[in-house]
């Protein structure tokens, strides 16, 4: 089965890659923590779908992708955006609906895009981003660019017709895309076993004649190797592949989720494997970072997040006068 295959010689992250991945993971974690704190306290009026627990995946992807590569993600994609290089300040501004946000208050958590760094789409429609990623990759292929598109989605999305049509089309058109499934074992409040009879999402790639592999989504180094292989395959004309990353949502589906449907022992076990502290320990044990360096990284990340919050909170709300902007390239003659 494709999912159990292991690659010949996989890329290994350099120490610089590892530090970078850790830095990204910390910023992702603190961003989620800060949102949770701010919303609970009433400081923030915002909605979001927490990524806490899933940091290792986009951190590794962020280290593997080039700035020129493209990313497509979902409502649960703030960590993915950070991995691709979207400024944290842009994220807070977007979630708080400020005039300074990339979407100027018209996008929101579900729809953050930041093409300046290749974050091309977030969608709130499950599965609907997958064909868009195929089109981005098709464009690169048509232009002879060596650009790769990575498309993030969840386990539940792999049951949508959109997923099927897209993976099949990507395989047939042989476009440079990597389908990255963040399998967090739930779709909203329904466990994955209830929505698919196969053991892995990865093996679904076989239906398209495409390689598929499942990987531990808590291990940045392992992820780096597996994602590098898929990205290199795409970049070198080898076509699409599917990478399933096993992970967990520590804060449930959307913020405020009581998580009653999650067995406490399952949550506890997942938190045991919290990728952020685990990776800190690894870096220290491997002598790649000292405890002080870890603390510095965390301090720097805290400063980044605090600055982003301060900036976003200070920013003005959008003006209703601009409601009709950006509906069309030219609004003349369009209905009111």
């Amino acid at each position: 089965m494709a999912a159990t295959k292991t690659a010949s010689a996989r890329a290994v992250p350099t120490e610089a890659d590892q530090k970078r991945m850790f830095e990204l993971m910390v910023i992702m974690k603190l961003t989620d923590d800060r949102l949770a704190k701010g919303i609970s306290s009433g400081e923030f009026l915002a909605i979001y779908w927490p990524h806490r627990g899933q940091e290792a995946i986009p951190a590794a992807l962020g280290a593997v992708l080039r700035p020129s590569d493209h990313l497509v993600t979902t409502y649960r994609g703030l960590h993915d955006h950070i991995g691709k290089g979207v400024p944290v300040s842009a994220i807070f501004a977007e979630l708080l609906g400020k005039e300074t946000a990339p979407g100027k208050g018209k996008g929101g958590t579900l729809h953050l895009s930041y093409p300046e760094v290749g974050s091309m789409l977030s969608t709130g429609i499950v599965g609907a981003g997958v064909p868009v990623g195929v089109g981005l990759a098709l464009s690169a292929k048509q232009q002879g660019l060596d650009r790769v598109t990575a498309t993030m989605f969840g386990d539940g999305a792999s049951n949508t017709g959109s997923f099927h049509e897209s993976l099949n089309m990507a395989a047939v058109l042989n476009v440079p895309v990597v389908f990255v499934c963040q399998n967090n074992l739930y779709g909203e409040k329904t466990p994955v076993e209830e929505t698919m009879k196969v053991a892995t999402v990865a093996e679904r790639s076989a239906a398209y004649g495409m390689p598929g592999v499942r990987v531990d989504g808590n291990d940045p180094d392992e992820l780096f190797g597996v994602l590098s292989e898929a990205v290199d395959r795409a970049r070198s004309g080898g076509g699409p592949s599917l990478v399933e990353c096993m992970t967990f949502r520590f804060r449930g589906h959307s913020f405020g989720d009581n998580m009653k449907y999650i067995p406490p022992e399952q949550l506890a076990a997942a938190q045991e494997k919290d990728p952020v502290p685990a990776y800190a320990r690894r870096l220290v044990d491997a002598g790649i970072c000292t405890g002080d360096e870890i603390a510095d990284i965390e301090a720097a990340a805290t400063a980044t997040v605090d600055a982003a919050v301060t900036e976003a909170m200070a920013a003005p709300a959008p003006s209703p006068d601009h409601l009709r902007d950006h509906v069309y390239a030219d609004d003349r003659g369009m209905p009111a």
Binding site: G97, L110, G124
Partner: protein, 335 residues
């Protein structure tokens, strides 16, 4: 009939409960609708899977096309499926099944097969959820022959109309407005149904008629109260169903007031208010004292930022302004 005060959410839940209890051919199909999964994102199906079992309340994968398609198949076999499309914005994924199969089945087989499904869909307007999670798309369905379209505004209507929908022999799109789910009202406890195509005059008046439905009803009633103080007597007609459309009640009311304002939370241009206004003009040509006014959402996608969203959707002020303009308009037929 005994009545009890309850929210629209409780009224919908009770209607489903009583339908499931009454007829074993009724079953629910959708995403996250079982109690294990929270009983629906806003609790409308809470308690039902526990009470009736997972065969009657089926949790599904994220597969809107297959959810509605499977409901149609079961209906072909005489079942009365209630399929849920969690949020109306996702209904495009199932539109082919609704428009090309459910709505046309009876006709294409000259009545040999029918598809009496109910598709429930929730509208999240006014909650900061943005362009793909806030739309009122009933206009797409109003022009589909073979379908019926329902959008209640009160707990009692919600219960009576959902019951009618489930036991109706034609496919019904039943739209639930999340903003109204917490609204309380007196609701008959026992099973009862409200016929489709019978608009409800929720507030009598003499100067102008507001024709609306769903969220437009409480907002228009609020506007009417405000206008009362100014000495403008506003009649508010709650359509309850868009297809069938109760032309008779609309024309009777506007015939009396000679002024009409149509209020929808769907877009104004190309939305449901167009057919309603066109119908009024066809029936009352030359008898109106002012042009039919239409108040609807602006022709833009829906922004999440509260100030922008407030500017996008109608509100009692905008409704009241439209009424004032209509009442102030010069009459072209003496009086």
């Amino acid at each position: 009939m005994e009545e009890r005060e309850m929210t629209m959410q409780q009224a919908l839940n009770l209607a489903l409960d009583q339908a499931l209890a009454k007829d074993e051919s009724v079953f629910l199909l959708g995403e996250d609708i079982t109690d294990e999964a929270g009983g629906g994102i806003v609790g409308v199906t809470a308690g039902l899977s526990t009470k009736y079992g997972l065969d009657r309340v089926c949790n599904t994968p994220i597969s809107e096309a297959a959810i509605v398609g499977a409901a149609i198949g079961a209906a072909l076999d005489g079942r009365r499926p209630v399929a849920e499309v969690m949020i109306m914005d996702f209904i495009g994924i199932a539109l082919d099944q609704i428009a090309n199969h459910a709505a046309k089945m009876r006709f294409m087989t000259a009545g040999r097969t029918t598809s009496p499904i109910t598709v429930r869909a929730a509208v999240l307007s006014g909650m900061g959820t943005g362009a793909t999670h806030s739309q009122s798309l009933e206009g797409w369905f109003m022009g589909i022959p073979g379908l019926k379209v329902v959008m209640p505004s009160s707990p009692a209507d919600a219960k009576g109309l959902l019951t009618t929908a489930i036991f109706d022999d034609d496919p019904v799109l039943f739209i639930e407005t999340v903003k109204l789910l917490g609204t309380k009202g007196m609701v008959p406890v026992d099973e009862y149904s409200i016929p489709f195509g019978q608009a409800n005059i929720v507030r009598p008046g003499t100067d102008v008629t507001i024709v609306t439905y769903g969220r437009g009803v409480p907002e228009s009633v609020a506007a009417a109260a405000e206008l009362e103080a100014e000495g403008i007597s506003v009649e508010v007609v709650d359509l309850r169903t868009l297809l069938p459309l109760d032309t008779q009640t609309i024309v009777e009311s506007v015939g009396r007031t000679r002024r009409a304002v149509v209020v929808t939370y769907s877009v104004r241009f190309g939305g449901p208010s167009a057919e309603i206004a066109a119908t009024i003009n066809e029936h009352l040509f030359g008898e109106l004292a002012a042009p039919v006014a239409r108040v609807g959402a602006q022709f833009t996608p829906i922004p999440p930022a509260s100030v922008l969203e407030a500017a996008h959707f109608p509100d009692p002020q905008r409704i009241a302004d439209a009424v004032r303009r209509t009442v102030g308009a010069p009459s072209t037929v003496g009086s």
